[in-house]
């Protein structure tokens, strides 16, 4: 948020090592701090696999030429760039995030990569719980590693439903909160022994420790399907990918 500086690291984390990142401002501060290394860490930690998961997610959204699409919690723009190529120069991509720092990196990447179709992207600083769009506006929506970080997931899904055209789909990619003990323990082991140590080389071990708690607080695939149907989606299906480590919810209005 332009008018509020993110809280300093010391006040964000308090005294207890297990203090959770509770409020939206703290989460916004977290994502703004990691913005400079976010893309590099995604690449390293997923061994480049995140690109495949994101392409799958965009395909599931069903975006096509000339469509108007939204990438919510766009961060530095990975999904927005993929959507831009899908919808082409006659389409529109709205890419919204609450972190100005992430959006500035997205615009820098847009200039750096420069493809003609990228002119169809509009970056917007906004609140996923109060979307600045009219009802039934978008032909497809994607959310990549965003829903899990929103404090009010029910409200977020209601807003997504509101701005989606009837018959269109939302595709929500994120970590999978698995009901399998093996997968959950594998995720936790990887976060403790790979993610956090690698992130600490970049100076962000605390920020990436947040990942384990946020997955634990997230919804399982079945719970996500139920939430989508509660807010009005006619159909919802959660797909596990990457050996169950990741998941993608596809919901149709």
């Amino acid at each position: 948020m332009a008018s509020a500086a993110p809280p300093p690291a010391s006040s964000s984390w308090g005294c207890g090592r297990r203090r959770r990142v509770r409020c939206s401002a703290e989460r916004q501060g977290l994502f703004s701090r990691i913005a400079p290394v976010y893309d590099n860490l995604n690449e390293v930690l997923s061994l480049g696999q995140h690109r495949i998961w994101k392409r799958m997610s965009v395909s599931w959204a069903g975006a096509k030429r000339s469509d108007r699409v939204l990438d919510l919690c766009c961060g530095s723009g990975d999904l927005a760039f993929l959507l831009s190529q899908k919808v082409g120069p006659d389409g529109q991509v709205s890419a919204l995030d609450f972190s100005k720092d992430q959006l500035l990196i997205a615009t820098a990447r847009q200039d750096l990569y420069w493809k003609a179709c990228y002119k169809n992207i509009e970056w917007i600083e906004g609140d996923a719980l109060e979307l600045p769009f009219a009802d039934s506006y978008f032909d497809a929506i994607t959310v990549g590693y965003g829903l899990r970080n929103l404090l009010d997931k029910h409200k977020a899904m209601k807003e997504i439903f509101r701005v989606l055209k009837p018959g269109s789909r939302v595709s929500i990619l994120d970590f999978n909160k698995s009901t399998s003990t093996l997968i959950t323990q594998s995720q936790e082991w990887m976060i403790d022994n790979v993610v956090v140590p690698v992130a600490s080389n970049y100076g962000f071990s605390r920020e990436y420790r947040y990942l384990k708690a946020s997955i634990a607080e997230y919804l399982t695939g079945k719970e996500l399907e139920k939430l989508a149907k509660e807010v009005g989606f006619s159909d919802a299906k959660h797909y596990e990918i990457a050996g169950g480590l990741m998941g993608n919810l596809v919901a149709a209005r």
Binding site: S3, Q92, L104, K119, N120, D127, E130, P132, F133
Partner: protein, 102 residues
């Protein structure tokens, strides 16, 4: 090639303007008006303006500024527009708008 480049830039500017016309107020969900002078998006319904900074529209509800406050700060020419009461006033404006709908 120079003429083609100029046409591309002009098209980009037109696309940008037309593109942004679809944005709505995050609170009232009504269309926003683009204000060239203040480089902001105006919600006439609730009398709030949202800034555009570094070319990016800032449409977070608490980034909105009451039009009265904005006009006052322009007249006073240099007074600090970000008063501690601006968020309270914004919430008051929204409350008035919501009450009017009931």
């Amino acid at each position: 090639m120079v003429r083609a480049s100029r046409r591309l830039l002009k098209d980009a500017a037109n696309i940008g303007k037309a593109f942004s016309d679809f944005l709505a107020c995050p609170l009232s969900k009504q269309p926003l008006r683009h204000c060239e002078d203040s480089q902001s998006r105006i919600s006439e319904t609730i009398g709030v303006s949202f800034p555009i900074i570094d070319g990016i529209p800032c449409l977070v509800p608490k980034d909105g500024k009451l039009l009265e406050d904005q006009n006052k700060s322009q007249v006073e020419n240099g007074a600090d527009p970000s008063s501690g009461n601006s968020e309270r006033d914004l919430l008051l404006a929204v409350n008035i708008w919501v009450t009017g709908l009931i």
